[in-house]
């Protein structure tokens, strides 16, 4: 599955593409929302590891503008629940992700991103 929690970690790895290769940009995304177990402790501890602006931008590409542009200092229950929803309940089922640097396109099919490269594209 590709959810935004995974998208926030993925980077392009095509040959020679070593800078400005994150975050990948969604195209033609078909999304589904599904409930996931909410664990406030996980979200609170995981949050500092996020690339926040990449997450805000990716959510916007999927039509979700609920996140603040800057990560807040005060993390109340309502904020954590919304962050949980954005990270773990929006599933990108079909579409693709494109590198902002080299424009390499990684397809998503049945919720699984294909990060394989052809032999001559590998770094």
């Amino acid at each position: 599955m590709v959810r935004l929690i995974t998208h926030n970690l993925l980077a392009c790895h095509a040959r020679g593409c070593t800078s400005n290769n994150f975050p990948l940009r969604f195209s033609d995304a078909q999304i589904e929302t599904r409930k996931a177990d909410f664990n406030a402790d996980f979200i609170r501890a995981f949050m500092p590891k996020l690339e926040w602006s990449a997450l805000v931008d990716a959510a916007k590409q999927l039509g979700d503008t609920s996140l603040p542009l800057e990560a807040p200092d005060m993390l109340d229950e309502e904020f954590l629940k919304n962050l949980h929803r954005v990270l773990l309940e929006i599933h990108i089922e079909e579409g693709s992700m494109t590198c902002p640097n080299c424009n390499h396109r990684y397809p998503i099919s049945n919720g699984i991103p294909n990060m394989l490269l052809a032999e001559d594209e590998i770094a």
């Binding site: 599955m1 501890a45 990060m115 590998i122």
Partner: protein, 270 residues
Amino acid sequence: MPKDVIPVVVSADPGTYEDAHVHAIYDDIADHFSSTRYKPWPIIAEFLSEIPTGWMGLDAGTGNGKYLSLPPHPPGKIWSIGLDRSINLLRLARSAGGVTREVVLGNVLDYCWRKGCFDFAISIATIHHLTTSERRRVAVQRLLEAVSPNHGRVLIYVWAIEQDGLSKRSIPTNGECSTSGQDVLVPWVSSDREQNATNAHNGVARVYNRYYHMFAKGELIDLVKGAALASGLELGPQPGGETGARGVEIVREGWERSNYYIELRLWQVR
């Protein structure tokens, strides 16, 4: 039914050979294979149960994803992303334990992540499917790159020449394999149930020969040493002073149920 492994010498292009003798086979046998792989090994379950809340992990070679759901309680305490080269195994992994999981189609030799973005990484019964020692070293380097240089934890399991009494396999031994391991093909015999379902081969069991590199005693430690050196990491416990030093410590290593394992922790002096 053949149970013995077959010694082999790989002379073909490694990538092409692995496609034919590992990836294509797992895509074919995914369902049957998965039905035999549901019990987590104790040391791996223990490693995962000790991971702090909020940590993100990479399972490089996740197979049917049986480790993506550990620890089971409390739900969502940690997350693991499953990486595998077999799309058919990933189709099973994405709902491992009855919960939707995160899985990515990719090769453990490639690196498709932000650097050091994971807190921990496991690679269970995967690196032994790579056909050269250089490729196996690269796979370990990818794990070292994947985790945080400050606190990253890594657990690796590979198949051992040294087999336990419960194992049904008999292992050919020759003098040379005692230090450099042994390349073998391991037959997988597709089940009758599967034969009926696919209606193929008219009841003649199909045998798939999967490639494995069976590790010699000490070989996994040497592999990690080589990977640490190539990644510019010191090997050993964290020293006192010297700011900027980076390294990896072997927390424990050993043999469990026909496999060698090694647990690592990265450190950085700031």
